[in-house]
Symmetry: C2
Subunit: 187 residues, 2 copies
DNA sequence: CGATTCATGTAACGGGTTACATGATTCG
DNA sequence: CGAATCATGTAACCCGTTACATGAATCG
C-alpha cells in the first residue's frame, strides 16, 4: 500500500516516467522504503491497467522511449482512500535485528561485546549518512526526521546494552541456560 | 536469518516440536517477529534436511504424533555462525507507516489531524499491551524493552506531529504543491 | 454433540528481489 | 573504444502468508 501511495503521491505532483521515479526514490527516500526497479515498473503497470494512472509514450530522437505517467481522477480518489487508510492506521515495524540479542549467552561475553561494537559502528555510519541527506524536498524531511529518531533510539539502546555487558551488570537478567536443564514447557 | 536463529536458539535450550515452538513464539515473541505455522514447519523441514537439527517421532496413545526436534552439533555451529553475523550487523527496519506523512497536504488539515489521532490511539493500545507482557522469559524481556522504546519514540514523534498540525506551525515546512506548477525534475 | 484444541502438513498465491536482455548514447 | 548511463522490461526465484485438509481428543 505504501509503495502505491508513494508512486501516486509523486505522480500527483509531477508527470513522470518510471526511470526517474525510481531514481528519485533511490536517492531521496531510500532511507524510508526501498523500491527496486522491477517493482516500480510492475506497480506502474498494474495501476495503469486499473485506470489509476495513464501514460503517453515520448521519444526524443533515437533515445529510448519514455512512458510519462500522469494520475487520473480515479487515481486521485484511490490515492486519497489509501492515504486516509494509511494515516489512520498503525502497524509496528518488525525489529528483526533485535532477535539475536535474546541468545547472547551462546557466546562468550567479551566476544558479544566486540560483535555489538561492530554493529554500533555500522549503525553510527547509517545515522550519519541519514543526517547528511537531512534536507529532503517538501515533506520528505519529515520522513528523514522520523528515521533519525528511530536510529537514535536504536543507538541509545545499543549503547546501554553494551555498557551493561561490559560492566557485567547483565548478571541480573542473565539467562540460566544450563544446557537443557530447564524444561519449562511440558510436552 | 533471524527466524532460523530464533528456532535454533529455542531448540538449543529445549527439545521441542513444531506446534509448541510456534505457540511459544506466538504468545511470547509475537511482538518482535512473526512466524506463522507453515513457515515454522518449512524452516524446520529445511534445517532437518541440512542436518542442523534432527527429530524423533513420538506418539502417545492415539493422539497426533509429535516430531520432537533437537539441535545437532552441526546445527550448533551454524547457529553460532548466524548469531555472530546477526549481532555484528545492522540493517535498519523499514518504516513504511511514515511514508503517508509525506503527502498530508493532499487532505484538509483538520481531517489529517483526526486521522492521525486514530493512529495514535492504535499505537497507544499496542504500546500498552506490549508493556503488559513485559515479563518475558530469559533474555526475551530484552526484546520487549527494545520494542517498547521504539514504540515510545514513535508515540513522541506522532504527538509532536499532531501538535504541529494543530497549531498550524506546519506552515514553515509546508509543501507548496500548487498542483503541478513545480517541475523540479528535468525530464 | 458441535466446536475448539492438538499436531501435522500441502497448495496456491502474493509481492518483492536478483539476474538477465536490449539498444542507443554519452563519458572517460 | 570500452564502460557507464538511459530507459524499458522479462524470467526465475525466494520467502512468506492464506486457505485448506486430516483426524483424534477434549471442552462446554
Amino acid at each position: 500500500m505504501e509503495r502505491k501511495i508513494l508512486l501516486l503521491g509523486l505522480l500527483r505532483q509531477f508527470d513522470m516516467y518510471g526511470y526517474k521515479l525510481n531514481e528519485f526514490i533511490d536517492t531521496h527516500i531510500e532511507t524510508s522504503i526501498q523500491l527496486k526497479k522491477p517493482t516500480t515498473y510492475r506497480i506502474l503497470h498494474k495501476m495503469a491497467e486499473e485506470g489509476w494512472i495513464e501514460f503517453k509514450e515520448v521519444q526524443e530522437g533515437n533515445r529510448p522511449f519514455k512512458r510519462i505517467y500522469s494520475i487520473t481522477s480515479q487515481g486521485e480518489l484511490e490515492f486519497q482512500k489509501l492515504l486516509r487508510k494509511s494515516l489512520s492506521n498503525y502497524e509496528p515495524s518488525e525489529y528483526r535485528s533485535a532477535i539475536s540479542l535474546a541468545f547472547v549467552d551462546a557466546l562468550p561475553l567479551d566476544e558479544v561485546v566486540s560483535l555489538l561494537e561492530k554493529r554500533r559502528e555500522l549503525l553510527k555510519k547509517i545515522l550519519q549518512t541519514t543526517q547528511k541527506n537531512a534536507e529532503g524536498h517538501g515533506h520528505f524531511n519529515l520522513l528523514i526526521d522520523h528515521r533519525i529518531r528511530h536510529l537514535s533510539t536504536e543507538l541509545e539502546w545499543l549503547n546501554e546494552i553494551i555498557d551493561h555487558f561490559k560492566s557485567g551488570k547483565m548478571a541480573e537478567i542473565k539467562f540460566k541456560v544450563n544446557n537443557k536443564k530447564i524444561k519449562e514447557f511440558k510436552q
